[in-house]
Amino acid sequence: MASKILKVRVDRERCQGHARCFALAPELFELDQFGNGRERGDGTVSAALEAKARLAQSNCPELAVEVTEE
């Protein structure tokens, strides 16, 4: 049985560049040249960073940060 993989994703349509995700979890998010957020790489979250992923999700005013399990 494979263990679940946690992923973060920024919904580009919703994101307005509040940059909270990047401030709280720079390991998981980056900003483009306009300051809008996006997940780093394919968004995979290591177990050590799960709390940070949830923190970013809880602080995005536009509800643009998604945390999913695959």
């Binding site: 560049g17 709280l24 306009f34 809880s58």
Partner: protein, 395 residues
Amino acid sequence: MGNRPPAADWATDFDHLDPRWTENPYPIWDELRRSCPIAHTERFMGAYFPSRYEDVRAIAYDTEHFSSRRVVVRETRQSFPPAPPITSDPPAHRPAKQVLLPAFTPEMISRHEPRTRDICRELLDRIGDRKRCDGAVDYAQEIPVRVIAHMLGVPETDADQFRKWIKEILEIGITDISVLLRAQDEMIAYFADKIAARRTNPRDDLIGYLINARAEDKPLSDEHVIGTLRLLMIAGIDTTWSAIGSCLWHLAQHAQDRRRLAAEPALMGAAVEEFLRAYAPVTMAREVVKETQIAGCTFKPGHMVLLSFPAANRDPAMFPDADRVIIDRAENRHAAFGLGIHRCIGSNLARMEIRVALSEWLGRFPEFRLDPDAPVTWSVGTVRGPRRLPLLLGA
């Protein structure tokens, strides 16, 4: 603003210039959220006041029915020169905003952190070993104006002039249009002059950046550049000064938060967000341009909406213990910088300034409290913060 009849009833006759609202608006908003979540007034030629987070969000997202062409609730419906992007609606909004965004990313803003820190230290040196000072006048109000002057590349000594214009536009101008128009003309002439100077003598500052910027592959017109510069100045100064002042006001009265913050600098980020939530300084406005319904209330075209991000931030349906300041609040989707397409361009700058201002202050004055013999006064209008903040310094 002296001779206004007092608001008879907040639900049907609200007046955000009423002295009771200026003094302490939070109980009024709490009461409205329970009794009449979308209040209305015949004042200001008709305006609505939503007090719940979900309604404020719905209106901020709905650019079809709610236009930004008027962003201040005034006594008249006079037209003003545009200040893109804040007065822009889609589709013009996006290109006007994109042009500014690259200059305001956290990375670009971090370049101004050393100057900001120096400004704070200079101000603290000036207070020196005095036993009392005014946290608003001697400190908070001096920081953003100098930082923005530094970014624009104009003399920091023009700061007094900038603050005078802003007061005339944001406070006096709500009721006295002639003062507003004069201030506006003076600002336009000031920036036209700076633009002309840079056309002959290019400089690497924010004004130079705008002159060279292109939106949809065309350079910006001088009118656009001037409008944006006026906006940056009006939006960037007393907003942030108010935020810094409110933080000091809170810390002066809450020894536990003050000591915890001085002892655990890592908490500063979360604390700043919580201060921004609880004491959000900026209320915006929209004009209803198409009839619509929200929460069972009909919004009539021609009426204004007072769009209170500060009231949204105090909604207990969104924030548990909304009226308590919890400096390590873990979940905080506050709307102090707005929601949707008009999200504050200066949010990264403002956050940097507040963080630096507080940590420098606490480094110098870990102990301070309100002066019991001198009253705190608050600004009138849609930017809320202390204008006099007499403090006693030291244990």
